[in-house]
């Protein structure tokens, strides 16, 4: 009976690993240098292996992102993490956008956005990244950041407002 428990545990972890390794890797790649990505991914899943029973079934990806973020925070200073996030946007040139599910971006839109991102805090960038790139709901953002869902909603709202404000002088009225 005990052996079967272990088999089930291993199987559950294997499924989790196979399903979420790509998204965790994508998340980590926006926060650390390429040479550090795999060690963070490994550390994240080692934590998941150790705490498998604590992972909420309905927000596994968010839980893994939270663990990955913690591992990154232990090794990369906030300022450096912010730089990586902005670089990740800057590296995404319009010419690379072969398909545009969220709308294609004109070159003239990128420069002011990059300039605005430079003025956001690391926390604001993290929140925007989770919502804009990983399409997370506030409840999932809350799991990643280990805050309440209400607090997550407030942070998302404030970060979006701050970004809009920073871009107002450049772009004028925002179309909703």
């Amino acid at each position: 009976m005990t052996s079967r428990l272990v088999d089930d545990r291993t199987e559950r972890f294997s499924d989790l690993f196979r399903e979420f390794t790509p998204s965790v890797r994508g998340f980590v790649r926006t926060m650390v240098a390429a040479c550090d990505v795999e060690s963070v991914v490994q550390a994240t899943f080692e934590t998941a292996w150790a705490k498998l029973e604590a992972i909420p079934l309905l927000s596994q990806r968010a839980w893994l992102f939270g663990v990955a973020r913690n591992h990154v925070r232990n090794h990369v200073r906030a300022e450096r993490r912010r730089a990586f996030l902005v670089d990740a946007v800057g590296a995404q040139r319009p010419g690379e956008l072969t398909s545009c599910p969220r709308g294609c971006v004109d070159l003239v839109e990128i420069a002011p956005l990059l300039a605005a991102l430079q003025h956001l805090s690391t926390e604001e960038l993290e929140v925007l990244q989770l919502v804009a790139w990983h399409e997370m709901e506030p409840a999932e953002v809350a799991v990643v950041l280990k805050i309440s869902a209400n607090n997550a909603r407030v942070r998302i709202h404030r970060a979006r407002k701050h970004l809009e404000t920073l871009m107002q002088p450049e772009l004028g009225e925002v179309d909703r």
Binding site: L5, E46, A50, R102, G103, L117, M167, L171, R176
Partner: protein, 232 residues
């Protein structure tokens, strides 16, 4: 001029899809993680594992996990329950090194389980044959369907613990490459004058994982050697 919401521009510039990919090494990484104890702490080779639910014992490699429902005890393992429940909400596994209650008390005090003085703790033998230290008095073992743990370790058990520890330390303190691994393990076996032991090489060596690690399965008189991250 009417322009898009900057958040939408940010979303459209999403770099994550091209960064989210599988790696040819993923299968190996999965095997490595499963083969390792869930976490490690302490100075030398002091394995701490954490689990919720069923009794799970890990010494250092998955191959070393030994389960004996019928066995009276697994002398190398000790688990500290965080609550008097079976299964507990969380449990912390450490090697058996002397007084199990004292060892678990340390986890309650040092912040691993809590930052406070521990409650009364009692050593039981759980249904996995592992010594489990549970919050509660002497009656708690029976309440959970466990036996009370009695007695100190035998000389053989003490020797086996020392062997397992030295074996792991030999392989973790320096990079032993694959061609030398069997001889290194045999040297430790010989030092402890153990007869009838078998050494198994699991392989998996790559340039990034050129070093070996080893662990003992006393119940099967087995030493398992696998690759670990590192280079000579």
């Amino acid at each position: 001029m009417r322009v898009r919401d900057p958040f939408e521009i940010l979303a459209a510039l999403n770099p994550v899809p091209r960064l989210s990919e599988t790696s040819p090494q993923d299968d190996e990484l999965l095997a490595t993680i499963i083969a390792k104890a869930p976490s490690t702490t302490g100075k030398r080779r002091r394995h701490l594992w954490v689990a919720g639910g069923g009794a799970i014992a890990v010494v250092g490699l998955a191959a070393f996990a030994v389960f004996h429902q019928d066995s009276a005890s697994s002398p190398l393992q000790l688990t500290c329950y965080t609550a008097a429940q079976q299964p507990p909400p969380e449990q912390f596994g450490i090697p058996m090194e002397g007084d199990p209650v004292k060892a678990c008390k340390q986890l309650w005090r040092n912040g691993t389980i809590a930052d406070a003085e521990p409650p009364t703790l009692t050593a039981c033998v759980n249904d996995g044959g592992i010594v489990a230290v549970v919050p509660g008095d002497q009656k708690v073992c029976a309440r959970l369907g466990f036996a009370n743990w009695i007695g100190a370790l035998t000389d053989d058990e003490v020797q086996m613990m020392a062997f397992a520890d030295e074996l792991a330390a030999t392989f973790s303190e320096k990079c032993i490459i694959e061609p030398d691994a069997t001889a290194a393990a045999q040297a430790v076996i010989d030092k402890y004058q153990l007869a009838g032991w078998t050494i198994v090489q699991q392989g998996g060596y790559t340039p990034q994982r050129a070093c070996a690690l080893a662990g003992a399965v006393p119940e099967q008189q087995l030493v398992v050697i696998a690759s670990r991250r590192g280079a000579p």
